[in-house]
């Protein structure tokens, strides 16, 4: 039976579901609690939490890999890792952080908050949503299984030829890598289609596109980037798979192949990908800054359209990753200029955030500190990024630690700080408890100093010529005085430990909050957007009645009214009271989709099919059989009581039913 919410005053009569589709006879799982309720769930909130937990797990895995790298480089002639393991370590650190931490963590936020922010009861395709999650986890398992099955991928995260070929990567590591990324790619593609449809089709009445919260906007832009960039890397990965497993020579220069083809395909995906990573965090802090500056976001349309134009221009700058390959003067000039141009919308955003804070009564919560940290650190990373757009300078910087410094400032200082800001801001919404602010402060300052100590010196190391991906350095060539590589490498390594302690404080804070944290108020931050109109944590159906939207920052405008005499905003209602009022006026007969076994089964089938590429055709056949079974199970499983009289007869358009393909 579906999860059916009825008003408590009514006596719930037992409802007999009459499947609209009598074929198949697969029953749907109906657990509402226990581990099975998580394994087979299609609830966007549970899926969001599982995304978050898996991403956090991989954040720790990738973090440990990073610490091992820094340990190896702390002193000359490092003995912690040998060259081979070191190659695997930095390849998997990057791959894990990008594909298994950053993207899933953004997906966690998107899954959880996007439907809540637009006043919907779930995403457009709840079962596909579960499929995305499980495929991602299967992809992560396949990627990391390589550690135990002969060694991980070792060609660097962009896996240039000939490093990706059998001569330099004889183990199956790269095979696991191509397969894992293809599977994770399918997961992201399905997820992005799902979220776009959700945003475009399922907004609450009255919520026009320009009344959408900025976080939702940025997620929408990201999903479009994914839809159009993932297929390109899929082609690259498939070609590489054909080369490694079936004897083709697409990227093999000795057989006439073109290694640059890989680079183009990879970066046509890879550059939009960096905006895929950063824009969700831009969205998060565009919610956090106005809330804690107690001012509306400065220039909302500018923030929205600069985000969209970053996405658009992001498709036209990929070759700035390839200046050192000799593209020719025209290409270099075009991509240089395009790259400089993309700094404009980014700069627009920075100024909008600064002006949002300007003159505001700033409330320095941990969420706010992380948001301000993002603005500061991302600006540093953005400026070093502009130096790459100048091709002659970039040719000097290519493959040095200067590049490593740059992208860690934008990705760690930018993206990760944004995500942590989101943790502190939305924790009370998701778990109904407040993260400890005192520990939060420690968390922030340790991460802030740790991050600057780790990645700041890398600018110096890089400009002094320390190459990226070099597994040892020697005292003899370390230089002297201020520019001594030994000193700055040691500083970076100590910094990475401080950073790690900062992250550990967060984990302790999360655990402490879970055990002993105080219950959160319904509107602890005096927030602005619709997700705060739901209870904390939100009910399975999100909203007791679908809100009707009249304003940007709808929740804020329900609490505040403009005093026409003084032109100031006057509080007229309490947020918590508004939430309770919604509960009191609940709709009856809200109907949610039932859980399903098939997303999980289908994902496992895809994983087995993928492993068949490495372990032979019989394995592939088993995988294909599972996929076929799961697909038919999926299509034929009875729809829930979608057609029963429990649906509100008028239908508000947001009470979902499971669509045949969903």
């Amino acid at each position: 039976m579906a999860i059916i919410e009825r008003p408590s005053t009514e006596v719930a009569a037992p409802v007999v579901a009459t499947p609209s589709n009598s074929l198949g006879g697969f029953k749907r799982p109906m657990m509402e609690s226990g581990w099975k309720s998580w394994l087979f769930t299609v609830d966007h909130k549970k899926i969001g939490i599982m995304y978050g937990v898996s991403a956090m797990f991989f954040f720790i895995v990738g973090g440990v890999e990073a610490l091992l790298i820094r340990l190896q480089l702390a002193a000359p002639n490092g003995k912690v890792l040998n060259a081979d393991v070191y190659n695997q370590m930095f390849t998997m650190h990057a791959t894990t952080m990008i594909f298994l931490f950053a993207m899933p963590m953004a997906a966690a936020f998107a899954n959880y908050f996007l439907p809540l922010q637009i006043g919907a009861r779930d995403v457009a395709f709840p079962r596909l949503n579960a499929l995305s999650l499980w495929l991602l986890i299967v992809g992560g398992v396949v990627l990391n299984a390589s550690w135990f099955l002969g060694g991980a991928a070792d060609g660097g995260w962009f896996m240039y030829a000939p490093n990706s070929g059998p001569i330099f990567s004889p183990s199956n590591g790269v095979d696991f890598w191509t397969l894992g990324l293809q599977i994770a790619g399918i997961a992201s593609l399905i997820g992005s289609i799902n979220l776009i449809v959700t945003v475009l089709n399922m907004r609450a009445p009255g919520m026009s596109l320009m009344k959408m919260p900025v976080f939702t906007w940025m997620i929408l832009v990201v999903q479009f980037l994914l839809v159009f960039s993932l297929p390109v890397i899929t082609v690259a990965l498939v070609l590489l798979m054909f080369q490694r497993s079936y004897g083709a020579t697409f990227f093999d220069a000795s057989a006439g192949g073109d290694p640059l083809l890989w680079q183009h395909l990879f970066w046509i995906f890879g550059h939009p990908e960096v905006y895929v990573l950063i824009l969700p965090s831009f969205g998060i802090i565009s919610e956090v800054l106005p809330t804690f500056a107690r001012k509306p976001l400065f220039g909302y349309p500018f923030v929205v359209f600069s985000g969209a134009s970053i996405g658009l221009v992001g498709f036209g700058v990929w070759a700035h990753h390839m200046f050192a390959t000799g593209l020719g003067p025209v290409s270099v000039a075009v991509f240089s200029i395009a790259t400089m141009a993309i700094a404009i919308p980014t700069g627009v955003k920075i100024f909008n955030w600064l002006l949002t804070m300007w003159g505001g009564k700033i409330w320095y919560t941990t969420a706010m500190k992380f948001a301000i940290g993002l603005v500061l650190l991302f600006t540093v990373g953005g400026l070093s990024g502009v130096t790459h757009s100048i091709a002659p300078s970039d040719t000097q910087q290519t493959d040095t630690y200067y590049i490593v410094a740059h992208f860690h400032y934008v990705l760690f200082g930018g993206m990760v700080f944004g995500l942590f800001s989101g943790f502190y801001y939305w924790w009370p919404k998701v778990f109904g408890k407040m993260l400890n602010e005192k520990m939060g402060s420690w968390n922030f300052w340790l991460m802030f100093f740790g991050m600057n100590l780790t990645f700041g010196p890398m600018h110096i190391l890089g400009l002094q010529g320390q190459p990226r991906r070099m597994y040892i350095w020697t005292e003899a060539r370390a230089g002297e005085g201020f520019f001594n590589l030994g000193f700055w490498n040691m500083v970076a390594s100590v910094g990475s430990l401080i950073l790690a302690i900062g992250v550990l404080v967060f984990l302790i804070n999360a655990f402490y909050t879970w055990k002993k944290g105080p219950k959160a108020e319904l509107d602890p931050w005096d927030a602005r957007t619709l997700e705060w109109l739901a209870t904390s944590p939100p009910k399975a159906h999100n909203f007791d009645r679908i809100p009707v939207v009249h304003h940007l920052d709808e929740f804020f405008h329900r609490k505040y009214e403009e005093d026409t005499a003084t032109h100031t905003m006057r509080k007229v209602a309490d947020g918590a009271d508004l939430v309770r009022a919604e509960e009191a006026a609940a709709d009856g007969h809200i109907h949610l989709p039932s859980p399903s076994y098939w997303p999980l089964v289908l994902s496992i089938g895809v994983g087995v099919l993928g492993l068949g590429v490495i372990y032979g055709v019989p394995v592939m056949v088993v995988g294909a059989a599972v996929i076929l079974l799961a697909s038919y199970g999926w299509v034929l499983e009875p729809s829930v009581a979608a057609d029963s009289e429990l649906d509100p007869p008028s239908g508000d358009g947001h009470t979902k039913e499971i669509a045949p393909l969903g």
Partner: protein, 201 residues
């Protein structure tokens, strides 16, 4: 009750903000993504079509009349697909099934032609690993062939479901969605046929 249900289902699409149903919007997005997938494969082929190593040159093995016929068969399947969609929208189960099976048969004929073509090419000395031209040709047309085959499975499965149940509003939409996919695969073939077969390397 059944009437209410049908009413509700057909109503569903009208509540969306775009006017398109969720399913249809998702299908369009998926096809948009597929454009880039084929774009990547076609680019790879265009880059490598002249690199024949010791294997046969494209002009030596392409049999344009044969491929023209099989292309025509595939294009005609788009016509029968349209007929299936209109029958489904009229609620005519019998005609829908008929046109679906004709479409599937035409698709299968095309796949049969492709299998014949591949085996002929192989006998003439163009294996998957013979040259970059061979690898990229088989990768591109093979991917397209898999798409057609999956489409045939869709068509036959849909026919099976329709046979057991009367069409409702949603099922007519399922036929339409498969139609979108099918037309897309056909259009991609027009591009492939032109770029790969007709324009000399």
């Amino acid at each position: 009750m059944a009437d209410v249900a049908v009413h509700h289902e057909t109503d569903h699409g009208h509540h969306s903000s775009t006017g398109l149903s969720n399913n249809k919007l998702a299908m369009w997005l998926f096809l948009g993504s597929e454009c880039l997938l084929f774009g990547g494969l076609i680019s790879t082929y265009m880059l490598y079509r002249g690199r024949v190593s010791n294997g046969p040159h494209p002009s030596a093995i392409y049999d344009i009349p044969f491929t023209s016929v099989s292309s025509f068969v595939l294009l005609m399947s788009s016509l029968t697909m349209v007929l299936a969609v209109t029958s489904a929208q009229r609620g005519d189960d019998k005609k829908t099934s008929l046109w679906l099976i004709v479409t599937a048969l035409l698709g299968a004929t095309f796949i049969g032609g492709q299998v014949y073509e591949f085996t002929t090419f192989y006998r003439e000395g163009l294996g998957f690993t013979t040259s970059l031209f061979g690898s990229s040709f088989y990768a591109l047309t093979g991917f397209h062939g898999v798409h057609v085959s999956v489409g045939v499975i869709f068509l036959l499965s849909t026919m099976g479901i329709i046979k057991k149940n009367r069409i409702t509003g949603t099922k007519a939409e399922v036929v339409e969605l498969i139609g979108l996919y099918w037309h897309f695969v056909d259009i991609v073939w027009i591009v492939i046929f032109t770029l790969v077969y007709l324009i000399p390397a």
